[in-house]
């Protein structure tokens, strides 16, 4: 019963505008949603463990995209000359580099404030964000000129359904994002480290009494979140090749939408972040495609408002009762 409405709407969309447009829009929206998901996971992981929003996360994502460019050009690869293992190599390098960056930020900026009020940490996060944006602009770092990311994966269509070319880059984005999310899911719910993370998230003090090294868990959380953002950065750069400088609004806006996705899905919830991100991607791209592109950001934030009104803990979040 509950599914009736959406199914009818979907049928109407397909009948009215034709199947090719629908399919193309679906591919675009899922690819965009996967990118949001990779960023959203970083927000949600850090929030789950530390209960604070890491506003510098979107800048780590930007650094990830720019480092991908730096590595790829350092190897001297351009449009077609990159070997098959080029993309995985850059992926590993950039994930490692950003994990290191995330850990550094955590140790230098956030750890000294572990006992301070939340607001202090929040403001520090904004400071870190500004720092990364502006250091990225230095000509000795990434500079202010936009750059073209070398195509590490061949630019061709993989197969064609109903005149719609399904491109290799879109498939790579979706597949890689999916694989990383599944790995994270396995890690959080099937390993000792994941159990430790969940324990710290549940109650930091008790967790430390049980012999869990809280600082180590927090550091690893930052490393994982930043590595995922870096992977997102690389995939973003492969899909949208013209990279804008680190202080550009693009990065902040992407980060903001990913943050919305994390909140919509239920912040602190890994599966929720993915669900929220896909929902945001679908609503944004379908809205822009079938309604009006003028308001695509509006659709995203309308979803946020609706979810916060109807289910403040997010679509997959659990209501938390305050202990009195």
């Amino acid at each position: 019963m509950k599914l009736g409405g959406p199914v009818v709407m979907l049928g109407l969309l397909i009948v009215q505008h034709g199947f090719p447009k629908f399919l193309q829009t679906l591919v675009n929206s899922v690819a965009l949603g996967s990118l949001y998901a990779l960023i959203a996971l970083g927000y949600t992981l850090v929030y789950g463990v530390l209960r604070f929003i890491n506003f510098a996360h979107s800048d780590v994502f930007a650094v990830g995209a720019w480092l991908s460019f730096t590595f790829a050009t350092a190897f001297g690869w351009v449009a077609t000359s990159s070997p098959l293992w080029g993309m995985p190599l850059v992926l590993l390098l950039v994930m490692a580099a950003c994990a290191l960056l995330g850990v550094t930020i955590e140790i230098l900026a956030y750890r000294p404030l572990r006992k301070a009020p939340r607001l202090n940490v929040l403001i520090t996060a904004i400071g870190v964000s500004l720092f990364l944006q502006n250091v990225g602009q230095l000509s000795s770092v990434f500079g202010t000129q936009p750059q073209r990311m070398p195509s590490l994966i061949e630019d061709r269509s993989l197969f064609t359904i109903a005149q719609v070319h399904i491109r290799l880059v879109d498939v790579t984005v979706i597949a890689l994002a999916l694989a990383l999310m599944m790995a994270l899911q396995w890690m959080v719910f099937r390993t000792r480290l994941g159990r430790a993370m969940r324990a710290v998230s549940f109650d930091e003090k008790v967790a430390s009494l049980m012999g869990i090294n809280v600082n180590r868990v927090v550091t690893i959380t930052f490393a994982i979140g930043s590595a995922l953002a870096a992977a997102g950065g690389l995939l973003f750069a492969l899909k949208y090749e013209g990279l804008k400088q680190t202080a550009d609004a693009t990065w902040v806006l992407l980060g903001l939408k990913a943050f919305v996705a994390a909140v919509v899905g239920g912040i602190g919830n890994v599966r929720g972040a993915v669900a929220g991100a896909l929902l945001i991607g679908v609503v944004e791209v379908f809205g822009a495609s079938y309604l009006s592109p003028h308001m695509r950001d509006v659709y995203v934030f309308v979803i946020l408002i609706v979810v916060l009104l109807l289910k403040p803990s997010g679509i997959l979040g659990k209501a938390v009762r305050e202990k009195v």
Binding site: Q137, Q145, E241, A288, P293, D297
Partner: protein
Amino acid sequence: MGWRRSFSSLGLLGLLALTAVGGAGCDKFGGKKKPAGDPAGSASAAPETGAIVVGHFASMTGSEATFGQSTDKGVRMALEERNAAGGVKGRKIEVKTLDTASKASEGGTVVTRLINNEKVVALLGEVSSSISIAGGQVAQKLGVPMVSPSSTNERVTKIGDMIFRVCFLDSFQGYVMAKFATDDLKVTKVAILYDQQQAYSKGLANDFKTAFVGMKGVITTEQAYSGGDPDVSAQLQTIKTSGAQAIYMPGYYTDVGNMIRQARKLGIKEPFLGGDGWDSEKLTEIGGADIEGSYYSNHYSFEETRPEVQDFVRKYREKHGQVPDGLAALGYDAARILFDAMDRAPSLGGKDLAAALAATKAFAGVTGLISIDVNRDAQKKAVVLQIKNGKPAYVTSIAPPDAAADAPKPLVSPEPAADPAAAPAAAPAPESTGAPTTRATPPPAPVKAAPAGGKTGTEMKASDDPDEGGQ
């Protein structure tokens, strides 16, 4: 160029901090100067010996940093040449460049600092129209002449009699591409894709539309994007099915490069058309092979054979190892026109200097013969370029329509409606019946463009006239 987003949307705190700093600056300096509203006042405070200081406010950092950096390179080249030739009135010139960080909120603060602390006699800047307007208001109030190298939005020089520019306006640029599409490309159906967060892009899209429809063209669909949104597949999908023969995309080069790549991937094969926001080496770098064959209007072409152009391009290449873009050329021209006016002016006081600037006629600049008209705007040709083998190749020049160039306009026109005198002269008979009497409210005339400055309307009329006496 046009208005740019003035904030990098980094949350409330960043903005709060900025306003706090900006506010403090204004109180401290602006408050003291306000009584000396006499235009010559602040200039007379400048020392009579030593170097003459000229201020340049530019986006040296931030999202439009490339624009400010290019312009500053052009300005400094003009400066070096002038000083090597003995400076102005026997004194050396010094240019102080202050950064606006691509933020309109910084424009006023930076200009206040330049005038009150650095004691500049004149100002150069900005590229972005929104920052030029913020800075221009301060310059006008303190009576210091300002020359904007490349702010194309109409409102910039309407601030007052101290504000000048050496580039053409957006309305002209829209007309240029419409005329080119109609006469040269022979297309009648065009789709528009513009950046809805940039008044520059939005305005240019509108100016193009008005001109193109006036030439019996059809706009198949108008789609919008936001500069921050990398994904425009939805808009492109609609454009693809709209049956357009060409796509007008008045955005900035990074977005344009990205969007054209996406468009080709979706199977769109039609040519793309654009404006001066495309002007950067990065356009072809990002767009790659996909952008080949597209056209855009610009202030100059480095391929032009005029000696001014070839001289400038050669010297710039020697110094910076790259081909100068339009912004560098405009920065160079703006500075040279200012130095020329400083030389001619009886004194370096604000009023004398402004009068000398206003008297600039047929100045042989890199970006063409520049004459400052009664609205303190530049009358000049625009060029149309085509991307060929990864380089913008010169295609043709298009001159301003005669009627618009020669229409008499009042010297100080604080609002667009102050043009009634021009409207009947340029566009006579039925359309303009209401124009001479209604100053503030344009009549709901059937010809929508005519009362709004008379400009777009008259341009469209004059477009039928093949006489090219614009320069």
